[in-house]
Amino acid sequence: MNFKFFKYAFVSLLLISFSLYSQHEENDKQPATATENSEQSHPEKEDFNAAELIHHHLSDSHDYNFDFPFIDKIQFHLPVILWTDKGLTVFSSKDFKGDEEGQVIVTKNGHQFKRIHDLIVYADKVGDHVNPKDVPLSARPLDFSITKNVISMLLTFLILLLVLFYTKKSYNHKRMPKGVGHFMEPLIIFIRDMAKDNIGPKYEKFVPFLLTVFFFILFSNLFGLIPFSPFGYNLTGNIVVTFVLAVIVFIITNVNGNKSYWTHILWPPGVPIILKPFIALIEILSIFTKPFALMIRLFANIFAGHTIILTFITLIFVFKNWGVPFASGFATIFMYTSELLVAFLQAYVFTLLSAIYFGMAIKEEAH
């Protein structure tokens, strides 16, 4: 009974949140419009900047803005962890006082730091750069801060851990799962069978990795679509995250590569001897292009999806016309539906291609 109540409450909360969310933003907008109409003195400052909003959503941050319906914006300050030439430096991002333009300078551990967007640079070294693109790498410390994306990733992994814990618990000495296990088991079996088909008889040792990758990508994709904090992040649409996943796939593939795999790359059989070096060159290149394609595919799909949805929503505030919300609302719903498909599809494609690469690496050639 209690559970049912919570279920309905959650669904209605979700529904209300959408309407309130948009209302909230429009309320924020109103003074801006008013000032714009009355005094034309600072139009560029008050103007709604869609590109900045989208960029802000897609980039990382040292502050965590907790956006949730009914709740005023809460800002959490996350720890900044820097590796400087004078050792580890840790302080709270509160010290920047919300500044992202490099105005506030923080002095810690014998160094001065300032923040330009999500990039922390030395204020006492090299030059003052307004445009972060001009900052040379040497002019900043290594940044191991627990940023918004790190928190989001930890959250994703913890939720996944919880789900898997309950999935495992639902089996408890029984053969059939219950509850959340009903949702998870078909997916687990689906991935396992896919691995079996693509890797071959020695598939079993790769299944845990493939399952972890699949569920991490799937959960990140899906949580990234929930439009309020602590979700609505952009993890798999971040090329660094997909880069790490692709590198892990690369390492596993080449560590497991057997003799036949390396012969095919370095001395391809069935090719005229004059061509062998050239084919080998292409093959060596393909070792890297395969995970590279994995990285780009996942990143581009999720990144593009988030960008398009945000673009459609920001169109409302750009045009400020009563007809636009209907059109862009419809488009947003359409994109959301297709993003839901993409969330599953990209998680599956990444896992499938990883499995195929593993299969190539351990396949015993029967020549």
Binding site: D60, I120, R140, L161, Y171, R175, V207, F209
Partner: protein
């Protein structure tokens, strides 16, 4: 995007991924996959057993059918034999009865014949006795006087023919 400070996410993603990968393997993937595998094995075994049982049943069924068919043919044979036997017996009985009846009839005929002969004989005897009696009576009446006696004698004498 963290392109300007990629080390942040590279570090944390790698760390989290490795930590949680081993956690998941230990806590979830191994036991879950094991359970699923065991279950599939048991299902396969059960199916195989069911197939076996079905085969056995089919065999038993066909055996039963065979036995049934045999029994049926046996029954038919027995019935046929019985029928034949019955007919044989009936025929034999009929024949025997017929011969017996024939004999009886023959006997009866003979008895009847002999009885008839005896009866005829007796009848003859009686007739002769009766006729003698009648003749005595008639003759007694007629031969009361002498004349009559003589007449009669004459008559009889005249009737006698000599060969």
């Amino acid at each position: 995007m963290n392109l300007l400070h990629p080390e942040t996410l590279v570090f944390w993603t790698t760390l989290f991924f490795l930590i949680f990968f081993f956690l998941f393997v230990k806590l979830a993937w191994k036991p879950i996959l094991k359970t699923i595998k065991e279950r599939e094995q048991s299902i396969e075994d059960a199916l195989l057993q069911a197939d076996k049982a079905r085969e056995e049943m089919a065999k038993l069924k066909s055996d039963n059918q065979k036995i049934l068919n045999e029994a049926r043919t046996q029954r038919d044979n027995m019935l046929k034999e019985a029928k034949e036997l019955k007919e044989q017996i009936i025929n034999k009985a009929r024949k025997e009865a017929q011969t017996e009846a024939g004999k009886e009839i023959e006997k009866a005929k003979r008895v009847i014949e002999s009885e008839k002969q005896a009866a005829i004989k007796e009848l003859k005897n009686q007739v002769s006795e009766l006729s003698i009696n009648i003749a005595e009576k008639v003759l007694g009446e007629e031969l009361k006087d002498k004349n009559e006696q003589l007449k009669q004698v004459d008559k009889l004498v005249s009737q006698i023919k000599f060969n």
